[in-house]
């Protein structure tokens, strides 16, 4: 089982990775990476292209299997779990490009994410209940989509699709929400709204966000982790990070 030291360490944080590595055909995309995220915190992952940010999300969500190392979520090893089991244990993930069901309405998109009736049989028997409708409305209100419930997802704007995907994740009430570039391609107004949304939803969960927009990161993140060549280069508040000579070297240097 887990060594006592790791347990003591893990019990403080929601998500802990230890010595996580993965290599693709010799190239180490994530290299011996250890870090942790606490509940109620908004953590930003930044770093130059190829730093391993998306790969790290892949490893946590089970999309990619690590070569070595462990991912502990709620003190439980999840590296061997299948993708949907990790989701059901409370990890939600949004992809880089908005991934919604275009042929369905906004309402149906939310409904599909409702964390019940997941087996084939119960999905077949599923009937729309008041509970589902109420939950969908509540999430739609939160994600600024209340007036669009009847519209097909394909006619939403890019930003609205991002919100739709975030909302679909929120319906499942995950304890860890991972967002890959949520504000990319959004208007300044939408960015601001998304920032407010993140602050609101982080109240009772952890949010791990990969983002290139530094103003956005500065506004929302409690702690920033800088990745470089698959390792943690620096960690701290945005101010500390911006003064960190190593970070400046990586972003501006050579």
């Amino acid at each position: 089982m887990t060594p006592p030291a790791a347990e003591a360490f893990a019990s403080e944080s929601l998500l802990v990775t230890k010595g996580l590595s993965v290599s693709f055909d010799g190239f180490k995309a994530v290299d011996n990476l250890s870090f942790s995220v606490d509940s109620g915190e908004i953590r930003a992952l930044i770093g130059p292209n190829g730093a391993g940010k998306t790969t790290l999300l892949d490893l946590i969500s089970g999309k990619t299997a690590p070569t070595t190392g462990s991912v502990m979520f709620k003190n439980r090893e999840i590296t061997h779990l299948r993708e949907y089991e990790i989701v059901r244990s409370g990890v939600g993930r949004k992809f880089q490009t908005p991934s919604v069901y275009e042929s369905l309405t906004v309402f149906e998109n939310f409904e599909m994410a409702f964390p019940d009736n997941r087996s084939c049989w119960s999905a077949w028997r599923f009937r729309r209940s008041d509970e589902v409708v109420a939950k969908v409305e509540q999430i739609a209100e939160l994600t600024y989509l209340k007036d669009r419930l009847r519209d097909r997802a394909e006619i939403l704007s890019h930003g609205e699709k991002q919100w739709l995907e975030i909302g679909a994740l929120l319906i499942q009430n995950p304890e860890l929400l991972m967002l890959d570039e949520p504000v990319a391609g959004m208007s300044p107004h939408e960015r601001e709204a998304t920032g407010e949304l993140l602050l609101e939803i982080a109240k009772n969960r952890a949010v791990l966000v990969v983002e290139h927009d530094m103003d956005f990161v500065k506004n929302v993140a409690h702690v920033v982790t800088v990745l470089h060549q698959g390792r943690v280069l620096a960690e701290g508040s945005m101010d500390e990070i911006q003064r960190n000579p190593k970070v400046i070297e990586v972003y501006l240097g050579h």
Binding site: Y84, Y101, C120, F126, Q138, R152, Q172
Partner: protein
């Protein structure tokens, strides 16, 4: 806003939202119900009244293939899984039925001239002296009726679970199912003593003493078959209209999103693959009953892929289209193989190419208005060429817009 996450508020929107659907519009739902009634009238009323026994039996034979097409619509059109091995399941269902009927036809009295009476004739020819163990359960009709869906279903379950769990899909799955069809037909042909070899299991006569070769029996079997098919269509609609149906589409178009929403995508795919296999098996069993024999020529690669083309011609996204497509393709096959056998391969080959390149949604999903405009466009071009490009518009037509099935998105487009 802070209270929103905790409290659930009543809303004036709710009553209307409960009945809000988009994938199946209310109008479309009504239209489908109407089509269902039309299909029932055609199968149960029109065909039996209009056709003589011979042709009714022929239609009955085609309708057994329609089970396969229905399965393919669910599995391929909606689930995005192309199986080129449906003949395997059709054949397994058919062989299960044929084994029972053959044993009934091989009672010791009627096989007394054999060196081992009481076993099927082909076993005797192949020097078998006792009934092989796998044949024993098929002495009982009850076991046979269970085996018909169970054997193919379990095979599909094993294959689907292994493949989809490792996220093998698309082309690879198609090739592997094709290899499976190849294996099973080689196996059946090679193990003559156990299977009847290349001739198959022939000379089937009675079902619990009821002569299935008589005209009245054939008519009754036709009705049983038609009712089973209508039942399969109804079941398919109940699935497609449920959340499970929306999940199937979602898996086809956004597999990753479904997976990361916490659904066991492999289980969903396996389910629809097994369902398609069971449909095919029922079709196979009904085929044996109505036609009176089963042979490896319905198992291998060629019949399997012909079943795909039947579904594609009718419309891979339409249950009704698949049934009518199967009827049309097989009627054409009979027509050509009787009259112009050398043309049939050209026709079906061209059909394959046309259905992919010109009308990927099949007859059911064809945009007839656009097709008409295209054809008229060709004529007007021809006309222009003829009068030296003076450019007189030849025809102007406003074609009526034919309501059609929701567009099946062809992968990658």
């Amino acid at each position: 806003m802070s209270g929103v996450l905790q409290s659930v508020r009543p809303s004036s929107l709710r009553p209307s939202l409960r009945h809000l659907t988009t994938v199946v519009f209310e109008g479309q739902r009504r239209r489908e119900n109407l089509y269902f009634v039309v299909l029932a009238v055609v199968l149960l009323g029109l065909f039996p009244l209009a056709l003589d026994n011979f042709h009714l039996n022929l239609i009955g034979k085609y309708l057994t293939y329609a089970f396969v097409s229905l399965g393919l619509v669910l599995c391929w059109g909606y689930g995005g899984i192309l199986s080129l091995g449906q003949g395997v399941f059709f054949g397994l269902g058919g062989y299960c039925m044929a084994m029972f009927l053959k044993l009934e036809a091989s009672d010791p009295a009627s096989t007394s001239i054999q060196s081992t009476p009481g076993i099927p004739d082909f076993m005797d020819w192949n020097q078998l002296t006792s009934l092989p163990a796998i044949w024993v359960p098929f002495k009982s009709l009850f076991c046979t009726l269970i085996a018909i869906p169970l054997v193919p279903g379990l095979l599909a379950l094993a294959l689907g679970a292994a493949m989809f769990r490792r996220r093998v899909g698309g082309v690879y799955f198609a090739i592997i199912t094709q290899a499976l069809a190849s294996i099973l037909s080689i196996l059946i042909i090679g193990r003559q003593g156990y299977t009847g070899g290349v001739n198959g299991i022939t000379d089937l006569r009675t079902l619990l003493g009821w002569d299935i070769r008589s005209d009245s029996a054939k008519t009754i079997l036709y009705y049983v078959n038609a009712l089973l098919l209508l039942g399969a269509v109804a079941l398919s609609f109940s699935i497609l209209r449920s959340k499970l149906g929306r999940l199937l589409l979602a898996v086809r178009d956004r597999e990753e999103r479904v997976l990361f929403t916490g659904y066991d995508v492999a289980a969903i795919k396996t389910f629809v693959f097994v369902l398609a296999a069971v449909y095919s098996a029922i079709g196979g069993a009904m085929f044996t009953l109505q036609v009176g024999f089963m042979s490896p020529s319905f198992v291998g690669i060629v019949p399997s892929i012909e079943m795909v083309i039947s579904a594609a011609v009718g419309g891979r996204g339409s249950l009704f289209g698949a049934i009518y497509g199967t009827l049309i393709v097989n009627a054409a096959k009979t027509f050509f193989s009787e009259g112009f056998p050398e043309l049939w391969l050209f026709v079906i080959g061209a059909l394959f190419i046309a259905v992919v390149m010109i009308f990927p949604n099949g007859l059911a999903g064809m945009d007839y208005a656009r097709a008409a405009r295209t054809v008229l466009g060709w004529f007007s071009k021809l006309g222009k060429m003829r009068d030296g490009g003076s450019g007189r518009p030849v025809v102007a037509v406003v074609a009526p817009v034919v309501p059609s099935q929701p567009r099946i998105k062809v992968e990658g487009q």
